[in-house]
Amino acid sequence: MAKSHVTTSINGQPQEFLCEPGDTLLDVLRNDLNLTGTKEGCGSGDCGACSVTLNGRLVCSCLVLGVEVEGAEVGTIEGVSTGDGLHVIQEKFLEHAALQCGICTPGLIVSAKALLEENPNPTEEEARYYLAGNLCRCTGYDKIIKAVMDSAETLRGVA
Amino acid sequence: MAIVIFSSELQKLTGEEQTRVDAEVFKDIVTEISNQYSALEHDELMKMAVAIDGEIIHTPFLEKVAATSEVHFLYRISGG
């Protein structure tokens, strides 16, 4: 089948790629662009390990086709830390020991960042529901929620 | 003489709950008791873990055994 040519932006950088009509954004990121920070846990939108932002909206990249990102802005884990170092959320994940194996961590950090951009002052319950689409099998979520709540405080400048 | 205590499973083969063995190293204990009880197979015993005075050892081959030691054979445990 003929490949489609797609022009997009990933983490603020212009990017072109060719993909099959059936290739997901996740396939493109991982296999064609070597952005392997985005993980595949299920391929069916159930685990959130492949979370990215598409025009600022949180999505599972396994549920988006590569051809759909024509002209869009894609944000992945690779774009979360800036030249100055880690993002506050990344630092708080490390401080709170909020990761064990770390496979869910990129997706959770992308999701947590989206949460705090939408809602800088979430309650614990709001954080738990927003992150309910990101499965973690190691931590029981306790330290993840603490890291996110602490990040929120720091980002609001109250800590 | 170290005391070797048999599990209920091993008792089916030894007919006895325990025995005393005059040996200082684990491998010699195995040789001794497999000579003493014909139903005990030397190679099978060597595959088992052992507890010497409560310390579980998975590969006890050359382990020293004190004259007052209590020795139990047990299944090897792995884990998850």
Partner: protein, 749 residues
């Protein structure tokens, strides 16, 4: 070790050394390696639970232009050789090989039959449809009751039950029977004032790691073959893969990638030898990554079990006899964790009269793999539920009943030795004084409590600590790090070397860079590999003293080493570790210490969990409203990651108790092989998991460490199960307490 050691670094909450890579997405996991010329492998799996394979025709697939190679069981040529056949070990390897690719029979829905390598993943997947397999269907045996029947369909006609005095004359699905006993249970029950006997069931449940099994391999006929994979034990992957393929260990390098969860499920091999066959036949590197449904139908799970527990107690709370029976599903090949189930069932109790009988039973489900304290959660669940019921009948606090009968130093175990110093009493006391237990149960809710016991293991660990000329160092270890163990290795080495942990970089070496190291499992890594790190670091300190002594013309005994500085006790001289390392080229060469140990003296870890639940009486949905996990760590090297183990184990156990189960249709086909329908706990399902880390040091470890990884999954089954029963005033016997089951209990009484 003394009980009151002062530590400089141990016990701190340091930032893990691999953390930066993990929060930035740079860490490379099983599916993240791409090699030049690499192609993709996919697996054809059985749609049937039990069938004879009459023929496999791969010719159409082989003729397809995108297909580069095809593998079937016939490609495991060396398995036929005489040198491998005939020993018990060889039989084990044969089972492993037959699980990687079916031989003459498929034994479960999802059983691998053939694999195809093609230019792209989707091409490989599409080409699977070109393989033509002819089957003769056989009846599917889907639970222990069916499997144990005299007239059951038999999975393996060469399997005879082991463990009876007389060898059975007929093949059976019961692989092994084990009986352990002490004292006289009949006499014990005769002494009892109250006896409770109940039957329990636990479901087939999966480890549920988020990262699917993945590997990238290269076969090289000149002896440079390589496997990159996510595994808990890359040395064991090498052993098993080499055996299946008849390779020499020295010709196969296995590299452990970062691993996205394992919990016991990544201690075995599935795709590795198949990928090597595909690579050999195509001359290309091959990557294989399982889809999520493949992970569910063909890997893991842990045993579903049927259990009976009977416990007798006097009016004053003294337990007089404990009796258990259990049948564990092994899946398609023998080897369920029934034996540790028998060994652990009643170990939290000091009771003289105990009898436990267990059966390892094959059924048409995927072969079980280890899962966190394998075998213990099911057995101890049955025991804890009955003990709780006895406490209720006696009108006794369940903690007091346990304290009265708690296993402690000197308690005779059913599996042989008497216990050394253990921390169950301390955990029970901590539970009794916990904010959770002291708080009243909210109106309408239920509360449950359970204890748990797991052995932990030691085993072989190899470590090398290599110092650099500037005084920094590398800790080279062979234990894959699943949960942050590199942080604890770094801290233990820092403690010995008395330098900042961040100056020491722990790495996981491949199989060519260290001698054999046992996998990460059995809660052994911080304990056993930690012991090797300590020993290797002590050798570095010894060399530092020798080098400094040589410079100062004194003996090594005259040199003291503290706070990262060597001092001459016979003079005024001192040198920092960095200075000694800088000088090393002039004083005898670079400095390193290594330790290849077989650690023993693993310390058992006991735990007590408390759970409150609210049950929606209309729907049967259970919400955990409060949860506390208390566990003896011996010594918590990194308290944050110890708490993480307690919380993670607790939540896996909560999932097992409340929701997780395989659902099969009448033909033995799994109907819920995805995270939507096999529902593991979500962030929104849970409260914070409160933890209390108890520290009763393990005398056999220099710093007192016990393993902490596994025990935490044991108590939740009983704690949650009893809390649900308590909330709805019913007796829970079957797990999980999913809404339909709880609703049926409420409605039917």
């Amino acid at each position: 070790m003394s009980e009151a050691q002062e530590f400089k670094y141990i016990g701190q909450r340091t930032i893990r050394p691999d953390g930066f890579d993990k929060v930035t997405g740079r860490a490379t996991y099983g599916a993240d390696l791409t090699l030049p010329g690499m192609i993709w492998g996919k697996t054809l799996r059985s749609p049937h639970a039990h069938a004879k394979i009459l023929s496999i025709d791969t010719s159409k697939a082989e003729a397809h232009p995108d297909v580069m190679s095809v593998a079937t069981f016939k490609d495991f040529v060396s398995l036929q050789s005489e040198s491998v056949a005939g020993t018990e070990d060889a039989a084990g390897v044969l089972d492993v090989a037959r699980n990687c690719l079916a031989d003459d029979k498929v034994l479960y829905h999802g059983h691998a039959i053939a694999a195809i390598a093609a230019r792209t993943e989707s091409a490989a997947k599409d080409a699977l449809a070109l393989i033509d397999v002819k089957y003769e269907l056989l009846p599917a045996v889907m639970d222990v009751e069916d499997a144990m029947k005299e007239d059951s369909s038999v999975l393996h006609d060469d399997m005879f039950t082991a463990g009876y005095d007389e060898k059975p004359s007929k093949a059976s699905n019961i692989a092994t029977r084990v009986e352990m006993k002490m004292g006289d249970v009949e006499a014990g029950f005769a002494e009892a004032d109250v006896i409770v006997e109940r039957e329990f069931r636990t479901p087939t449940a999966h480890q549920g790691y988020i990262e699917p099994h993945a590997c990238t391999v290269t076969y090289d006929e000149n002896g440079q073959s390589m496997v990159w994979c996510c595994t808990q034990g890359h040395f064991d992957v090498r052993t098993l893969t080499a055996k299946v393929l008849g390779m020499e260990l020295g010709k196969l390098k296995v590299i452990a990638s970062e691993i996205g969860g394992g919990f016991g499920g990544k201690t075995v091999i599935y795709q590795e030898p198949v990928a090597l066959v595909l690579s050999k036949k195509s001359g290309r590197p091959v990557k294989m990554v399982m889809d999520r449904d493949e992970v569910f139908i063909a890997t893991g799970p842990t045993s579903a079990a049927k259990l009976k527990a009977k416990v007798g107690v006097k009016k004053d709370g003294t337990i007089t006899a404990m009796q258990g029976w259990m049948a564990y599903e092994a899946g398609a090949f023998k080897g369920s964790p029934m034996v540790p189930g028998v060994m652990t069932m009643f170990t939290p109790y000091d009771c003289p009269n105990v009898l436990v009988e267990g059966f390892d039973v094959v059924v048409n489900k995927s072969k079980v793999a280890a899962y966190r304290a394998p075998g213990a959660p099911q057995a101890e669940y049955a025991a804890e539920m009955v003990v709780n019921e006895l406490a209720e009948l006696l009108g006794m606090d369940p903690i007091d009943l346990r304290l009265k009968n708690a296993a402690k130093e000197g308690t005779q175990t059913i599996y042989g030795p008497k216990l050394k110093r253990v921390g169950l009493v301390e955990c029970l006391e901590a539970a009794k004084n916990s904010p959770h237990y002291l708080s009243p149960l909210p109106e309408g809710q239920g509360r449950g409590l359970a204890s748990g016991f797991w052995f932990n293991i030691g085993g072989q660990s190899s470590v090398s600590v290599n110092m650099n000329p500037d005084g920094t160092g590398t800790i080279v270890e062979g234990s894959p790090d699943i949960g942050g163990s590199r942080a604890s290795m770094q801290m233990m080495a820092a403690e010995v070397l008395q330098i900042e942990p961040k100056n020491l970089k722990p790495i996981i070496a491949d199989t060519e860079n260290l001698p054999y190291s046992q996998g990460t499992g059995g809660s052994r890594t911080t304990f056993a590999t930690g012991m090797a790190v300590i020993e290797a670091s002590e050798k570095v300190v010894a060399q530092v003293k020798e080098r400094a002594a040589a410079v100062w013309n004194v003996t090594a005994e005259q040199v003291e080493y503290a706070d990262g500085v060597a001092r001459n006790t016979a003079g005024e001289d001192s040198m920092t570790l960095a200075e000694v390392c800088k000088n090393a080229e002039k004083t005898g060469g670079q400095i390193s210490g290594n330790a290849n140990i077989n650690a023993r003296g693993a310390g058992p870890s006991f735990a007590v969990h408390i759970c409150d639940v609210a049950v929606d009486k209309e729907t049967g949905k259970v919400d955990v409203t409060r949860y506390t996990a208390i566990q003896d760590a011996g010594k918590a090297i990194h308290p944050g990651y110890v708490e993480g183990q307690l919380q993670g184990g607790a939540v896996q156990g909560i999932g097992w108790a409340l929701n997780e189960e395989y659902v099969f249709n009448a033909d033995g086909v799994m109907e819920n092989p995805g995270f939507l329908d096999y529902r593991i706990p979500l962030a929104s399902d849970l409260p914070m998991i409160e933890t209390i880390t108890v520290e009763v040091p393990n005398a056999f470890h220099p710093y007192g460490v016990r393993g902490v990884g596994e025990t935490g999954i044991i108590p939740p089954l009983g704690a949650v199960g009893y809390a649900v029963g308590n909330a709805i005033d019913r007796k829970v016997e079957e797990l999980p307490c999913s809404p339909p089951r709880v609703l049926a209990l409420i409605q039917n009484g």
